[in-house]
């Protein structure tokens, strides 16, 4: 076991040992845990509730949404995304493409790790080299695969050389930086230069963070910041109501939001989000390979009603992957609810209704989804809407690991999925290029169009932002026409927090960076 992991777990282990003693006492004498006070929240703590535990606090390993949220608080990257998903300076004060394959980053000198050491180019070099080291088995290795060499000519300069011109490269520069002497450790390293530092972590229960005194512009005001894992949605809501939790971003159900919003001590903030919900279609199925059938499916859905029913209206009907706030967004056609047209399209495609308004469908499809209540609710409403145009959906629910394996292997016809926190528009290449079918990429439906291939490949080579925007405008229009997936909506971000919290700004991608600058009245 590495020293880091040892340190990470030590705090937890101490707690565990004390709890084990308490548990033994409990087993002997009822009420024995009366003296077991180590689990109490520190006084004055600001408590954030998350639905699930972050997979890792180490920026080299964490890939889930909550790991990213915590990484934003504990670590700094060279760049970070702004509201329009553009990369803006963070540790890097500026950067320059010296040529198509060489980028020079100038670092700020104000950032310090939680142990007081300044962050230098050597730390950046070591962290990137560690992620690129196959021995570490970092899930982020492929996102940096375009880097051929990293140099640190002086403590404030990092030079990255790319294998070939690669426009989305900056999207990979958000990687949290670790101290150089620990970057290659195989275990968890949670020491960063972010606004907070990790005080203790108790697996499955809570993380306690304290302000990083060396953070530029002064340490955050929230001291300590406690991140609690509260898996049950109703209980998260009740914790907010009771004051045991001060902020949650894992959106409660619409009916609960109304109830929480009526509380005088709570605020419900809603901001346009970048998460894109869609129906994935398997184009290997001959019926779904027909664009008229896909268009008929899109036209049979009343997105406004679905949104109201499934999300309480907390979203906007989507035209494609990129939300209107995104720098590369271009208006494209949003599928209009038109059941008559849907029926005509299906007739033209050769799928006539065998008994008119009778119970027999034109054809049946299997709709796979997860066991989450929201996913089931969406499945049932889509099933009802498609039934009106004569398409019968057999809804089958699966545990997430099984569903994911089926989606990856192309063993599905229809399923509802989402892209969370869409960054660079190069996602269009990964999702729709004909060569990006699993296991190479995300083109799970097997969509193939030479025009789309040409455009998405051009988009990742162009370094000029205006040129890229023009290319991706065409990509978005092409996707809206071909409908390789049926767009549903962009989900709003919903944050519920105590009114005593000041200065909090919800982010479209759900990050919690704003906690570094907020305070409690």
């Amino acid at each position: 076991m590495s020293s880091t992991r040892g340190r990470w777990y030590q705090s937890g282990a101490k707690v565990v040992n004390q709890r084990a003693r308490c548990a033994v006492a409990l087993a002997l004498i009822l009420g024995g845990s009366a003296g077991c006070q180590d689990g109490q929240l520190p006084p004055g703590a600001f408590v954030v509730a998350l639905a699930s535990e972050p997979q890792s606090l180490d920026p080299r390993f964490g890939t889930d949404a909550n790991s990213a949220r915590l990484a934003d608080l504990l670590h700094v990257g060279l760049t970070r995304p702004d509201m329009a998903a553009r990369r803006v300076p963070e540790l890097a004060a500026s950067w320059e493409f010296v040529n198509a394959t060489t980028v020079v980053f100038r670092l700020r000198s104000q950032f310090h790790f939680a142990d007081g050491r300044p962050v230098t180019a050597a730390d950046v070099q070591a962290t990137y080299a560690a992620v690129l080291d196959p021995a570490l088995a970092s899930p982020k290795r492929m996102s940096l695969a375009m880097i051929s060499r990293i140099e640190a000519p002086d403590p404030a300069t990092v030079v990255m050389r790319l294998r070939e011109p690669f426009a989305p490269f900056l999207d990979a520069t958000g990687l949290g930086i670790l101290p150089a002497d620990r970057a290659h450790e195989p275990g968890e390293v949670a020491v960063g230069a972010g606004p907070f530092r990790l005080l203790s972590a108790t697996r499955g229960e809570r993380l306690v963070l304290a302000p990083n005194p060396g953070y530029p512009g002064g340490p955050p005001h929230l001291d300590p910041l406690v991140v609690r894992i509260v898996p049950d949605e109703v209980v998260r809501t009740l914790e907010l109501y009771r004051g045991g939790v001060h902020l949650t971003e894992d959106s409660p159900q619409p009916e609960m939001l109304d109830w929480l919003g009526s509380r005088p001590d709570l605020t419900v903030e809603r901001t346009p989000g970048t998460s894109f919900d869609y129906l994935a279609l398997n184009l290997r199925d001959p019926r779904l390979a027909d664009r008229r059938v896909r268009e008929a499916i899109a036209a049979s859905l009343d997105r406004e009603s679905l949104l109201r029913f499934v999300l309480g209206g907390a979203g906007r009907p989507a035209s494609g992957l990129l939300a209107p706030e995104h720098w590369a967004y271009a208006p494209a056609r949003v599928p209009r609810h038109d059941p008559k047209r849907a029926r005509r399209l299906l007739d033209r495609a050769g799928y006539r209704d065998p008994d008119g308004p009778g119970p027999l469908p034109r054809f049946r499809l299997v709709y796979k989804t997860s066991t989450q209540p929201g996913a089931r609710r969406l499945a049932e409403t889509i099933q009802a809407e498609l039934a009106t145009v004569g398409i019968a959906l057999d809804v089958r629910t699966y545990e997430w690991g099984t569903l994911y394996a089926d989606v990856r292997s192309g063993n599905f016809q229809v399923c509802a999925l989402a892209w969370v926190g869409v960054g660079d528009p190069d996602l269009y290449y990964l999702a729709f290029d004909s060569t990006m079918q699993p296991p190479a990429g995300y083109n799970r439906g097997g969509y193939a169009n030479p025009v789309m291939d040409r455009l998405t490949r051009r988009g990742r080579q162009l370094l000029d932002p205006a040129g890229r925007r023009a290319v991706y405008a065409r990509v978005q229009r092409r996707a809206a026409h071909d409908l390789p997936v049926v767009p549903l909506w962009w989900e709003d971000r919903l944050v519920v927090h105590t009114r005593r919290l000041r200065g909090f700004e919800p982010a479209p991608d759900g990050n919690l960076r704003s906690l570094a600058t907020t305070w409690m009245e």
Partner: protein, 307 residues
């Protein structure tokens, strides 16, 4: 008695071997690849292959199984794929929470069920008996996913006496322990009552009464001891189930126990962790069975004499 305990301990080995074999087989039948879940969809095939090799997942299943058993025999449960930490360490982090909750719920259930069952049997047909039976029926019928939030609404939100969720001092323990215990109380009350009614109708009870023994002594000293034998069996089974982790209760009350850990491990297809958790549960069950056997001996001297 020591010989019997030793025999029980020796039986742990084939029991755990059977449990481990079944879990290994079932886990590998379920679709889903831990490496793909770990590395994500965009991982290079070469990286997937390399990590699969590092984790030994590219070996034939019998070889993986033999490797797992060989390591387990040395006390090495392997490395958790999702947590990137030794499985034993991850389980050791969570097990005390389960022990704390299960132990409290079990003691609470016994403390409520035995007196209630005894009183109901001693006053069979009375209003108290009817109320006890009705209450026990409710305890059995109320699912924890409904009862838990209801208790939170009443005692945390309504009265403000107790915290909503989380693990901390005694106050945090009350609601999850009560939620777990009430179901068990329902089962045990009915069992204690039924066993007591049988025992109270026995000849030795009539004899004790005829000899003028006080009522409390007849019930507590003569009938209860005999009535406790079937109750001990069921209570032992219930205790084992509690130690296996109360997934729903742990989820509702944000209790960081073994039940939630298993669900997380299954979702991530974290084979070593699932196997480790199941082994830990298997050991718990065997331990509870051993204690149950010892309790039998303590209650019934005929078993001691038979040995």
């Amino acid at each position: 008695m020591p010989r019997r305990a030793l025999r029980r301990l020796v039986l742990i080995i084939p029991t755990l071997l059977g449990v481990a074999s079944l879990v290994f087989a079932f886990l590998h039948l379920v679709p889903g690849d831990p490496v793909e879940i770990m590395l994500g969809e965009s991982a290079a095939p070469a990286d997937v292959a390399a990590l699969r090799h590092d984790l030994g997942l590219d070996r034939p299943l019998p070889a993986q199984y033999a490797r797992f058993l060989a390591r387990a025999a040395r006390g090495d449960l392997g490395q958790s794929i999702a947590f990137r930490a030794p499985v034993a360490e991850v389980i050791a982090d969570r097990y005390p929470a389960t022990l704390e909750l299960a132990g409290t719920a079990f003691l609470l259930a016994l403390a409520l069920a035995v007196p209630l069952g005894v009183v109901a049997a001693a006053r069979a047909g009375s209003m108290l008996d009817r109320l006890t039976r009705l209450g026990s029926l409710a305890g059995v019928c109320l699912p924890s996913f409904w009862l838990g939030p209801l208790l939170i609404l009443a005692f945390s939100i309504g009265l403000g006496w107790l915290p909503v969720s989380g693990r901390g001092g005694l106050a945090h323990l009350v609601l999850p322990a009560v939620t777990l215990a009430l179901g068990m109380v329902g089962v045990l009350v009915r069992l204690v009552r039924a066993s007591m009614l049988v025992a109270l109708g026995e000849d030795y009870v009539r004899t004790a009464r005829a000899k003028g023994a006080p009522g409390w002594r007849v019930v507590g000293g003569h009938a209860l001891r005999n009535a406790l034998m079937p109750v001990t069996t069921v209570a032992g089974l219930q205790a084992g189930a509690l130690l296996a982790g109360a997934i729903i209760t742990e989820t509702i009350f944000a209790w960081p126990g073994l039940g939630r850990l298993i669900v997380e491990a299954i979702s991530a297809r974290d084979y070593p962790l699932v196997q480790g958790c199941v082994l830990a549960i298997g050991v718990s069950y065997v331990g509870v069975n051993l204690v149950t056997d010892l309790v039998y001996h303590a209650i019934d001297p005929r078993l001691r004499d038979a040995e």
